[in-house]
Each structure stands twice: as structure tokens, then as C-alpha cells.
Symmetry: C2
Subunit: 459 residues, 2 copies
């Protein structure tokens, strides 16, 4: 079995396990109590806070532990927006933030606030100048992830932080994906992290609010964690989280080089050995352990199932795996192919041999899914029956694109073909297919059902 | 060392430890993912939910795991008040609920809702008829704890639930203190619990919303835990929490009898061996493991320190230990003495010998604190200098009562004495002292600073 989904959750680091076991016996009491067991718990909590603060690059009194990275993000956003309400009610964030940011933004919008989304390029990267331009007057908070969770692209956090400072707007950095690799540089104001992403236990997030940042925790009062996180402290898990963060950061420099090599191998070999595949995300400025690609004519769910049977655990941003019928908002914002999407994120310590085995298994897995779906083989002859309109209504991703590919060869060069489709992924995947195939995507028209996508054959 | 503060946090039960260790290796992955590790995590989570639901007495799909009992209470209250907003904006709760309820009520009030507090008798018990009478039209939610966390008194939950049902109002039961001893009977609608109170790990609470109860989770969307709890599931801790709940409930019947015997011994012996002490809370209808008493002329903080030095960890609701300068809201609502307050809550498995040693140590600890504070010895002669006004302004609990006791003997029987005090605890402790001493508490007058408390000597 090879687990290649570290970006969802990393297996527990041995240091985390050891620290957790040790503190189960020492850290269960209430750290607010004045007796022996309480004082012991308090010492553990204080030491964990100092260790985590050092790893993050902040003061211990700027850092609180939350029950999850999600709650850290929610609380960072609600607490800053409330404290800066008089400045304005505008929240700025990139289009590729984690859903925790998007959901908190939706609550803000529902309550009468305004939200500005800053788009990304085809690599998933925000342009720092675009981000700076979005910081209009009345902006209470801006949010930018350190690196994207689906495609690994690093964001220009330091430049964004400078722009925020110049505009007198606090910047929240969602560092969930990158903290294992080191602290986030730059003059950010708030930062959120999640321990189970770096090999710490589940149940621990962290929220940093730098001194001088106005912050008003929302929800019922609670005296714990500087009044910022209600509920009894989870000290054994917090100790384990802090210990493992230090441990993974100490190993990060060497492990990053090694995993970057393996990921480069995947990037190259997938492009070579799997036809009609697009590797997405920035090829250089990216997380060292993560690579994402999309395969034409492939249903993401079936491919994940094939790979699982072959012993590989990966994830996907394809709509056919999410249950929502819409492809990942990250792939949408990038404007890249979403069908047959696979995210590989290697946990620290991944063996080279496992990656090589994955690269052996993948081409056949993709081929067999395509065969099941009746996708056109690479370079195959066009189907005999030519139709200027392809009716793919009611067909789910990736079937509309498969139907398109089957008949394009029968369309005279220069003529157009219309695809009727009501699957949301078609809006992303038909233009992406055109880009990959050198055909022209003319545009979309309203239709009685779904939409009509017009393609002109160029080659 | 004897840890007698199980009501704050219980040490980890061996079953919890074992389950936690086992599930650290099996339960770290994302249970929403379709691959092997995700499916294994999902199985563990489902099994934990079934076990917890059985122990609580509900359906598995009515129960979600939260990061703490506090968050379960907060979310129960905000979710029900929001869903029933059209019915009304009134929240009813007893005066002795946990601060998690009071703080959520304060948020509701600040947002324009109304809150009705139902008082308790001197044992800390709500009268079911009073509770029913408070359920006026427009009541969106009522909250009643199963048993009080400071004095152990059980509340009439089943009767309150019947009254709520008749009034078509959902009842939230905070069962944090009682779940270890068994499920809560009655037709309640919502229930909250906290694993670290029953020997489970910290980081796990549970929230039950019975079918048919209108509930609208507040805050940002999140698909986990039926959309009721944002953030990555803490599966190893949840598994440990469920396993230990079943284990402690299986041992509960026998252990309750044993601990009830030890607590009865404390109740009797404290009253006999420590002069000027009031044992508070219902003597019969109470948690089996918890007893609370208050000692006249004693500073709670110093007494806790003395007991800690002697190897006993207990807690206190005296103002002098809370850092807030106001005594526990529970003792205030009961109208009992708050000074020198000690709560003893025995963890399962407490040895009889440790209780006996506590009973040996306690009288001397109380005596030495009184001596340090210059308290009048039991039956001592009155001090020579009689004053009709005692100026205790600026003096902290228990000094105002000590000063009162020193001079009362010089006041002619039938005459009054006025105590000037600005410590909030005096408002509770001077009337309580009068009750214990057979003197008449005449009442309170406004004063230039603090208040003037008038006492008439009767004996």
C-alpha cells in the first residue's frame, strides 16, 4: 500500500506519537487549576506553545491552539472582520483559497459584508499586483494561502503582505499546506495551520494573531487560550503537534530536495507515458511533495478506484468524485482541465520504489478507464457518423468531452461543432480540451437545457 | 498524591488509552476519502458513533462529535435558537448551569434575544414547577443540566422535559457531569457531553439533536459531522471517548455505590470534625462522587494550597480562587456560604484509604488557615474592643466575616452591627454566617463605598 495523499492528512509522525503517549499521563488535568496536576498540565501547554511559536516564527503569546485548522481560519476571519468593522466590511481573498476561507466569506457576505475574489493564472498563482489592486478602501481583511492545497503552487505571500501593510490591511495566511516545510516569511498579520497536515495528531490547529492586529473573538466568552478558543484544552494532542512540527521542520530541507526529485520524476513521466494528460500547477514555485495532473476522457472516480485497487491512495478535484457535480473551485479558477484529475502528495519518507511502481501502474489504469468509457484512442480514426451537433445532455464528466473527441474528425477544418451538455464540468473541460488539441473554443450559448459549447476545428 | 477533582477532568481511563493507541495507526486518514485508509477511518468513526449513541440512548444519526463539551453546548444553543427564531427569542435556563450555557445566553441577549433564569433552592435544585412556569410563549429553547457541576445536586430533568414537551419547547440537557453514571432519561430534545469528564481524552465532546428537533447550525458551512461541526474529525480521540464511555458506564452501578459511601463519610466527618462548616448540595439526590462544603473564616485559595501541599487536589468556588473577585454563580444562586469553599469529586477507583487520609488532614488544614487569618476560635471569648460599625472596606473574603465574628460578642443581644465591605463575596457570606450562627441578617444598605450589611445579635 502506498499512501500518496499527505495533503489531506499525513500519518502520525513517530515524534508526535511519542509525545502524545508521554503527555497522556501528564497533561490530562485542567491547566487553570492551582494543584499539582494542573500545574504540570500548564507547564506542558506553555512549553508546547513556545515550541510551536518558534517553529511558526511568532511570539508565544501571539499563538493559540484551536481544535482544527478549519476553526483557526473561521475564527481568524470572524475575529478580524468584527474588530475592524468600522474600517469597512470588505474581505479580499484569492480564488483558490481552501473551502474554510470560502465558507467563512460566504457567512460574511450573508451578513451584509462584501467579498472580492482575486483570480489566478493557469498555474494557480495570484499576481501580487492584482492582489494589491484589490485592497480598496474599506478592506477589513485580506486572505492568501501560502501554497495551494490542490496544485501545490506557492503564492506571493511576502509581496502581498507588503501591499497589505502599505494599505493598512491585515493579511491572513492559511499556511496549512506549507508549515511542515518551514515558517512563512513576510509581514503577515494572522496565520492559520493544521497539525494533521504535518504529521501531528488530528484535533489541533493553530491561530497566530500578531501583536498590533485588532482582533475580537466572536461567539460565547471563554477564558481559555487568551479568550480566543472556547473549550477545555487538548494538551496531549497540542504537545504532540508542537513536537512533530519541530521534528518535520528539522527534516524539511533534506526531505524537500528528495521529494522534489520524486515529484519532478512524476511530472516528466506522466507527461511522457500517459497520452492526453495535462500536468497542472507551477512547475517550479510549488510545494516539494505535491503534483496534480488531469487526464482527458477519464472519470476521476473510476481512476481513483483503479489506483486504490493497485494499492495507491490519491485524491482528485474532478467533479465526478466530489458528490457536488461541480469540479474543484481551484481547477475552475485556473481554467484547466478538470476531468480525470489526480492529486499526488507524498508523505515525508515516501520510498522511491513506490513512486516508480505508481508510474508503472498509472498508464494502464488510465488506459483501462478510457476503454471502459469508450474514449477515442490517441490518434484513432474518426467515427464514421459525423454530426454537427453532439447531444451530451444528461451525460456526466468526462462523457461530453469523449463524444466531442469522437466526432471532431468528421467536421471539415474551419467548420464548427456544437456540444449540448448540462454537466457543469463541461464548461471547464471543453475549452481545456480545445487548448490541448489545438482546436478553437468559440464560446458558449444558452440552450433550452444546459448550455451549447461551440468548437471550431482548426487541425 | 490524591486527585479529588474528577469534576474538572478525569484521568484517562485505561480503556481510553488502549483505544486511542490502537486507532492512532488506523484512524488518521480523512474518512471522506474513497481509498483504503479513508474507508478504515470511516469504519472507526461509524463504530464510535454507534457505541456513543448506545451509551447516551439515542440514534447514531442524532449524535455528532464536537471538539469539546463547551462547543457542544454553544452549538446546541445557537443552532436551536436560530432554527426556532420565528417561534420566539426567549431562552430559559436554570441559574446554576455551567458557564458554557451562561456565556452562550449572554451572546443571545447581546444580539437582542431574551433570557429567563430559573432560580434554585438552597440545595441547588430547580423546582420543576418553576421551570415549567418559565416556559412562556415565545420560548425557543430551555436548558437544564442533569446534575450540578459544583455541588452535585441532580435536577428534575424528566419532569422538566415533560413540561417542555407540553409547551412545545425543546429541552437541552447539559449532561457533562452525569454521563459517566448512565444515560439521561426523559424526553429531552438535545444533549451535550464532554469526554474528559468520563475518562475519555480531551478534545471530544458530543452533541445529540433528537429527530424532529429543528436545528440550524450557525457559522461557516462544513460538510463534516452532518454539517454540524466544522473541521477535520479527531477519530483516534473519538474512538477512545466512545470506548471509555461504555467502559465507565459498565462499571458505574457498582462504583456509584462505593463512591457514594465514601462521599457520605466525607459529608458526615467534615460536619463533625471541622467546626463552622456548611456541607452544601442535596444530601440524597446527587452525583455519587461529589461533595462540596464551605468553611467559615477561611480563604479558599490558601486552603487549596494547604491541601495541595498535603497531597490533595481539590477545587473551590470561592471568589478568592477564581481571579474574578466574585464567588461562583452556583453558590450565589443557592444563597449559601461561599468562603472557604471546597469541592471534592472522586475519580472512579479512588481508594478508601486516600479519603480517610483526607479526612485526617482537613481539620488541621482549616485550623491553620484560620489561625493565619486571625479568625476567632470556635467558642472563643469576644474581643475586648466593641464597635457598632466594622470597617472591612478593601478587605477580601473571608476577612469581612472574620471581623464580624470577632466583634459580635460585644454587641448587646437585640442590638445591630453594621459591616462595611466592598468585596462581592460579603453579600453572600454575611447572610450565610448569620444563618449558621443563629444571628439575624437585617439587610443591606447602599454605602459611599461598597455596601453596609446590617446584622442583629440574637444569641
Amino acid at each position: 500500500m502506498s499512501y500518496f495523499d499527505a495533503a489531506s492528512a499525513a500519518p502520525l509522525h513517530p515524534v508526535a506519537r511519542e509525545a502524545l503517549l508521554a503527555s497522556l499521563d501528564e497533561g490530562w488535568a485542567d491547566p487553570a487549576r492551582p494543584y499539582r496536576e494542573g500545574r504540570r498540565a500548564r507547564l506542558l501547554l506553555d512549553a508546547a506553545r513556545e515550541a510551536a511559536a518558534e517553529a511558526v516564527g511568532c511570539r508565544p503569546d501571539e499563538l493559540v491552539f484551536t481544535p482544527s485548522g478549519t476553526q483557526a481560519v473561521h475564527s481568524a476571519i470572524s475575529g478580524t472582520l468584527a474588530a475592524r468593522r468600522r474600517v469597512g466590511r470588505r474581505l479580499v481573498h484569492s480564488a483558490v483559497e481552501h473551502s474554510a476561507v470560502l465558507h467563512a466569506a460566504a457567512v460574511h457576505e450573508a451578513a451584509g459584508g462584501s467579498v472580492s475574489e482575486v483570480g489566478v493564472d493557469r498555474t494557480g498563482r495570484v499576481d501580487a499586483a492584482d492582489f494589491a489592486a484589490a485592497l480598496a478602501s474599506g478592506t477589513a481583511l485580506a486572505a492568501l494561502q501560502s501554497a495551494n492545497h490542490e496544485v501545490g503552487t506557492e503564492q506571493p505571500v511576502a509581496e502581498a503582505a507588503d501591499a497589505c501593510r502599505a494599505a493598512d490591511v491585515p493579511l491572513l495566511v492559511d499556511a496549512a499546506q506549507s508549515l511542515a516545510w518551514g515558517p512563512v516569511g513576510g509581514a503577515w498579520s494572522l496565520l492559520a495551520g493544521s497539525a494533521h497536515k504535518w504529521g501531528g495528531p488530528p484535533g489541533v490547529g493553530l491561530l497566530v494573531v500578531r501583536k498590533g492586529t485588532r482582533f475580537a473573538p466572536q461567539g460565547p466568552l471563554d477564558e481559555r487560550e487568551s479568550g480566543r478558543v472556547p473549550g477545555f484544552e487538548n494538551i496531549p494532542a497540542v504537545v504532540a503537534a508542537a513536537a512533530s512540527l519541530r521534528a518535520v521542520q528539522a527534516e524539511a530541507a533534506a526531505e524537500a530536495v528528495r521529494l522534489r526529485g520524486l515529484v519532478d520524476r512524476i511530472r516528466t513521466r506522466v507527461a511522457e507515458s500517459v497520452p492526453d494528460t495535462e500536468v497542472v500547477g507551477d512547475p517550479v514555485n510549488r510545494l516539494p511533495h505535491l503534483v496534480t495532473f488531469s487526464c482527458l476522457y477519464v472519470d476521476g472516480e473510476t481512476l481513483l478506484h483503479e489506483l486504490d485497487r493497485a494499492g495507491f491512495s490519491v485524491s482528485s478535484g474532478s467533479s465526478c468524485t466530489s458528490g457536488t457535480l461541480t469540479p474543484s473551485h481551484v481547477l475552475r479558477a485556473m481554467g484547466v482541465l478538470s476531468e480525470g484529475n489526480v492529486r499526488v502528495s507524498l508523505p515525508a519518507g515516501t520510498a522511491e520504489a513506490d513512486v516508480d511502481r505508481f508510474l508503472e501502474v498509472l498508464p494502464e489504469a488510465v488506459r483501462s478507464v478510457r476503454e471502459k468509457l469508450g474514449a477515442p484512442a490517441a490518434g484513432s480514426a474518426p467515427s464514421p457518423a459525423a454530426e454537427r451537433v453532439v447531444d451530451a445532455l444528461g451525460k456526466r464528466c468526462p462523457v461530453p468531452v469523449i463524444e466531442l473527441a469522437k466526432v471532431i474528425g468528421d467536421v471539415p477544418v474551419g467548420a464548427t461543432l456544437t456540444v449540448l451538455a448540462d454537466d457543469e464540468a463541461a464548461r471547464l473541460d471543453i475549452p481545456a480540451w480545445c487548448g490541448m488539441r489545438g482546436q478553437e473554443y468559440v464560446g458558449e450559448r444558452a440552450a433550452e437545457r444546459g448550455a451549447a459549447y461551440v468548437v471550431r476545428r482548426l487541425v
